[in-house]
């Protein structure tokens, strides 16, 4: 989780990712941000988030994203 | 519930009522300027027991004066003419007229044989709009619409005239419900004079045959008259222009002979009628003015009396009275126009 929060804050230092849960709905993250996050995640967690998982529910909060990463790690 | 029903009804009344008023307001009134659009409608309020009905284009409604036909021959006639009346329109106007009365003679001016297809929207409007609704009108519209026109535009003329709001004038309010007579039994009078000058040489045509469609309607017209026991008289008015080709003349003569119809080409009778294109036309030979029309009417009156079944009805008192009134209006128009065109009495 720590690593993930670091990735996110690098991208948008002004957003409090621990509490924010409308990252997509409020258009805080755009498509370019999402791609950056996915490539960082691929590096750090060794998990590939494929396109089918790019839906608002998975990216609206850091927690949701973390859950997704965990789930994908499990499947591997 | 009751209150709601009332609201709905009131809404509908306001909706339909205001749209209807708007439509009346936006439709062209044809009382000044282009008055030709008003001609067709002027038939309906008339007492309908005519002996002779004219159908055709400007070559009938500008060239014959029913007033003279009555006063000098006792012929009670009406002209159902309109600008560039196409032959199918003439046919359906005849059908329309026969819903009200059966004249002894129908006179048709054959110039429109030259058109085989719908021509101009504006002319369609001026002919068709004045017609009362009947199957004849429906068919006339269907036969006449150009590519850009829609039948619905005739049912709801507001769709056609919707953009006229920016050019509404006093007349549009004044004649919203009421109209002013512009013709004398369908005759459009002009007293001014513009002598005929040089007439442009006729252009040779690729094909001189009248179209199939035109012939079809002429056939229908002939058949309808036969069926109703009406004598159909074909004429070609003595207008110098548009040019009447010899090839056309041949076809008409042939048709008249085949169908046993009386056909008169007044272009051949200019001297007999006594027309002088220096004084008897108001637009350089296209149409006759009052003086020309009266001359032509006199000649035609004699011809009708001699060659058709029409009788002198000057003995009928009711008719006498109506025509006396019409004379007053006729004279008033002459006086008004002489003033307008500054012509010495």
């Amino acid at each position: 989780m720590e690593t993930l929060l670091e990735i996110l804050s690098d991208l948008h230092p002004d957003v409090d990712f621990e509490t924010e849960d409308r990252l997509i709905d409020d258009k805080i993250l755009d498509s370019f941000d999402i791609i950056s996050i996915i490539s960082e995640v691929a590096d750090q967690f060794d998990v590939t988030i494929s396109a089918e998982y790019i839906v608002p529910e998975n990216f609206n909060s850091a927690e949701a994203l973390y859950d997704l990463i965990q789930k994908l790690e499990d499947e591997d | 519930m009751k209150k709601k029903g009332f609201k709905v009804v009131l809404t509908l009344v306001i909706l339909v009522g205001s749209l209807w008023l708007l439509q009346r307001l936006l439709m062209p009134k044809y009382v000044t300027g282009v008055v030709e659009g008003a001609l067709i409608a002027e038939y309906y309020p008339e007492e309908k027991n005519h002996d002779v009905i004219f159908i055709g284009d400007c070559e009938v409604y500008e060239n014959f004066s029913p007033q003279i036909l009555w006063e000098e021959y006792g012929i009670n006639s009406f002209i159902r003419g309109s600008a560039q009346q196409l032959i199918w329109q003439s046919y359906y106007l005849l059908e329309d007229t026969l819903r009200y009365e059966t004249p002894k003679v129908v006179v048709f001016n054959v110039l429109s044989m030259k058109y085989n297809e719908p021509q101009k929207e504006a002319y369609n409007r001026m002919t068709l709009e004045g017609m009362r609704w009947s199957m004849s009108k429906v068919n006339a519209i269907k036969a006449s619409v150009t590519e850009q026109e829609q039948f619905l535009d005739y049912v709801f003329p507001i769709l056609r005239y919707h953009s006229r709001w920016s050019e509404i004038k006093g007349d549009d309010f004044r004649y919203m419900f009421d109209t002013k007579k512009v013709s004398h039994n369908g005759y459009y009078m002009r007293v001014d004079v513009k002598p005929a000058g040089t007439i442009p040489d006729p252009k040779p045509l690729a094909d001189y045959r009248f179209g199939e469609n035109a012939y079809a309607y002429l056939d229908r017209m002939t058949a309808l008259c036969k069926e109703k026991g009406i004598q159909l008289v074909l004429i070609k008015a003595p207008s110098l222009y548009p040019h009447w080709y010899d090839e056309w003349e041949e076809q008409m003569e042939e048709y008249a002979e085949e169908n046993d119809l009386l056909y008169i080409n007044f272009l051949d009778l200019i001297d007999e009628v006594g027309l002088d294109f220096q004084t008897d036309t108001y637009d350089g030979g296209l149409h006759l003015n009052l003086s020309g029309a009266e001359k032509l009417s006199r000649y035609f009156g004699t011809l009708l009396t001699e060659q058709t079944e029409v009788s002198d009805r000057r003995g009928e008192e009711a008719l006498q009275r109506t025509w006396a009134e019409k004379r007053t209006a006729y004279d008033a128009e002459i006086a008004y126009q002489k003033e307008k065109y500054q012509i010495e009495k």
Binding site: F32, S39, E75 | R160, H162, S166
Partner: protein
Amino acid sequence: MLFTSYGFIGFLAVLFLLYYLIPAKYQWMLLLAASYLFYWFANPVYLLYICVTTVSTWFIGRRIEAVRSVQSAYLAEHKQELDKEAKKSYKALMKKKTWHLLLACLFFNLGILAVVKYTNFVISNVNAVIYAIGAGQPLSFVNIIVPLGISFYTFQAMGYIIDVYRGTVKAQDNLFRFALFVSFFPQLVQGPISRYGDLSESLFAEHPRDWSTISLGLQRMLWGYFKKLVIADRMLIGVNTLIQNPDTYYGAYAFLGMLFYALELYADFTGGIDITIGIAQVLGVKVTENFNRPYFSKSIKEYWNRWHMTMGSWFTDYIFYPISVCKPMLKLSKASRKALGETIGKRVPIYLSSFVVWFATGIWHGASWNFIAWGLGNWVVIMISQELEPLYQRFHNRFHVRGSFFFRLFQVIRTVLLMSCLRMFDCYRDVPLTFRMFGSMFTGGNWKELLNGSLLQLGLTLTDYRILFFGLVLLIAVSLIQRTGSVREKIRKLPYWGRFLLWYGLFLCVLLMGAYGVGYDASQFIYNQF
């Protein structure tokens, strides 16, 4: 059948009436019949194309679903005996199967789209090459009809099959229901491109008669007709004069044409979508919004999140993301970061996949270099503004104008002008001419001519300009009110006669000021051709 034809209005009137007279469970069947009838009116041959796409996509959707159920049945049956590795490899095997099915479907249907839309474009380019190298006979063009709305329904169907593959929606078993999803007539001509997950529920549901929904739908339609008939079709006269005579109308006129076109396109496209969504609403069907007051956007990127939104999100979800996060791209990302450093290297894959998306967006709009240039133009602008982001940041840190009204206004105007400039590509005949006309705006030096009455020579009368001005004011006013919620909902709160007056007034505006009937050429929606 154009949306603005009497025939279409009559068609709708009959449909609406029948729709609420028949038992609600048959409503969707009526819609299917109406949609096919609508398409048949346009051209019976089109039906062939849409049927092929419908049946093939439906069939493959079911096949994918079938593979899935085999997989879960197998896994459930052999739960005990399989270890994790075996499960994984079995899943991968099945995934491969569905992947092949998906690819077959995409290739087949996008292939049809490509052939009918782009064959002649390819031929003309090949000919240009042949001509340039002076080799041999040029190829002759082929005569293919492009079915109405093929880009829209193909995209909609392909979105469905990808969603089925991803497992986000369940495949539709009923061929006829699926056929309705693909052919739903209000959106067939010009979108929006709906997602199966968004549209299907309300499309197949039973809709009892609900006056408030029906009247809201009718109101939306009326507003759409206002935009379309009063503004767009009138503006079109001026636009056509300006862009079809570039030799006469250059410089200041090119600028004017650009603005006219911006207004016309907006009124035409959003008006058409209003009519579409309005019709659907009358029928009780919820269609996704396609616009969110796009001309109020503060940047091009924001603009593309607010203009033709369903198309934008289609490209993002089904092209941009898959390309950006596919394994080779991630590898490339790693490599480029190593070679070019963290900041620049990170952007390489993003720029690459955006390039693909914008190229595709361009060519989707039309088979010509103009549209490709337009698409890539958008790409360039977005990339540049992305690169300048740090610079903007520094500017804002120094000058605190970000929130101020005038700065926002400046941003909005800048965006509108930028977008309008880019759109010149789809106005002028070819790309070089577009550049020439763009240049002439700065060198033309004929700005004074705009004041000497030549504006009245463009086919628009003073009355036309007044109407356009009135329409523009109304558009802006409505958009401003919309910021705090639906205008129709606000009007609904008014007393009865107030509402009546407003809507009847709007109806009269359309009736009296609409550019329709004799004297105005019935013009097609601009987006028809795409």
